[in-house]
């Protein structure tokens, strides 16, 4: 009986240790990974340290690579970044599948500039792929027609 109780204690002690190990591991994070993720805006931040009065609009007007894929909206908290996705579907899919209509849906429902931009890119991407496929099929059909003649 004593042995069983000791064993039960040991098992529970080990499982307790496991839980504790998990909670400590949850606080592990790599700052280097965060810095790598944010490298582009880090560069922009350093540029603004040297050029304090330069605005986003001025950088955009000169097609600066520093503001490529950078939002023109201020973001003070990650809570603000909560996606304004229509029906929870990524905006680029709306643009990709429904074209201009999808972009319009995202624009009117989400009322969010960045989401609309994403939908627009989806629409453009789908159009480019469509054109390439059209020419590829057309070329293939022309080649096979020529070979049969």
């Amino acid at each position: 009986m004593k042995r069983i109780l000791s064993l039960a204690f040991l098992v529970s002690a080990f499982s307790f240790q496991d839980l504790k190990a998990d909670s400590r591991d949850m606080f592990n994070f790599e700052i280097d990974e965060v810095n790598t993720e944010l490298a582009q805006v880090e560069e922009l931040d350093q540029y603004l340290d040297q050029n304090e009065n330069v605005s986003f609009a001025e950088l955009q007007a000169t097609n600066s690579a520093l503001v490529a894929n950078v939002s023109d909206q201020a973001m003070m908290s990650p809570a603000m970044a909560k996606r304004h996705r229509v029906l929870g579907i990524p905006s680029w899919i709306w643009g990709c599948v429904f074209g201009v209509a999808g972009v319009a849906i995202v624009y009117f429902v989400s009322e969010n500039k960045d989401e609309t931009k994403e939908a627009l890119w989806g629409c453009v991407g789908a159009s480019v792929v469509g054109i390439i496929l059209y020419f590829a099929v057309f070329a293939a059909a022309a080649t096979s027609a020529a070979s049969t003649i």
Binding site: F27, V34, V41, L48, Q73
Partner: protein
């Protein structure tokens, strides 16, 4: 015998001098911090969209308004007051948002009230459920009251060297909603301030990464009253 009599007052004098010094040191350390300001830079990445927001912040315990003077991407003033957020461009109010009470949980309020080490959870609705020591870290588990456990999840708080290191917010199913890390503490006139805060937020299967850096921190600044008590438009 006479030597003993002279010895006692000298010893007493030394003890009193020592006590006075300790008292003066404590008084100097315990000076009231009521006002804080500085520069900030917030970098974030949400899916494939980056964001950079820069400017200055002002907070005074007497006015309870967090004032952000943004310089990038656009010149704007943000005033966080009680449960409202006001956004102004020039003198024009262009956005007014209602939300939860955010000022009391702003790091500026917590730091000035010496509550950052427990993130103010001690005086919140959360109850301390567990404390565990893991190597260099002490981890506290805070749980919401039973009546709210169907809506709210636990909060894990870790401390390193008695300073707040990390926060993990869980939902009711114990899934991670948000992780926050407080780094690179600096001592400004006796006030400990984390000059870097990293946020990892998990929304709809995406991880939003945000890093906030603070610099040029001023404590108990005497001028600039207009910014600390920025007028809120009617």
């Amino acid at each position: 015998m006479g030597g003993n009599f002279t010895f006692i007052p000298i010893a007493l004098k030394r003890i009193l001098t020592g006590l006075l010094l300790v008292f003066l040191c404590q008084a100097a350390m315990a000076q009231d911090f009521y006002r804080i300001s500085g520069n900030f830079s917030i970098k974030s990445k949400d899916d494939s969209i980056y964001s950079l927001t820069r400017g200055s912040f002002y907070y005074d315990l007497n006015f309870k308004k967090v004032v952000y003077e943004l310089t990038f991407p656009e010149k704007e003033i943000w005033v966080l007051s009680d449960s409202m957020i006001f956004r102004m461009r020039g003198d024009t109010l262009f956005e007014k948002t209602e939300g939860a009470s955010i000022v009391e949980f702003s790091i500026f309020h917590l730091i000035l009230n010496n509550k950052l080490h427990d993130y103010g959870l001690k005086e919140s609705i959360y109850n301390l459920k567990e404390v565990e020591k893991k190597r260099d870290m002490i981890i506290y588990t805070w749980a919401p009251p039973m009546v709210m456990s169907s809506m709210l999840g636990k909060v894990l708080l870790s401390q390193q060297d008695k300073r707040l290191y990390g926060l993990i917010f869980l939902n009711k199913d114990e899934e991670v909603l948000r992780k926050q890390f407080f780094r690179s503490y600096t001592n400004i006139s006796g006030l400990e301030f984390p000059s870097e805060i990293v946020d990892l937020v998990y929304v709809e299967g995406l991880e939003i990464v945000q890093k906030t850096n603070y610099k040029n921190i001023k404590v108990n600044e005497s001028g600039n009253n207009a910014m600390y008590n920025y007028p809120i438009p009617e």
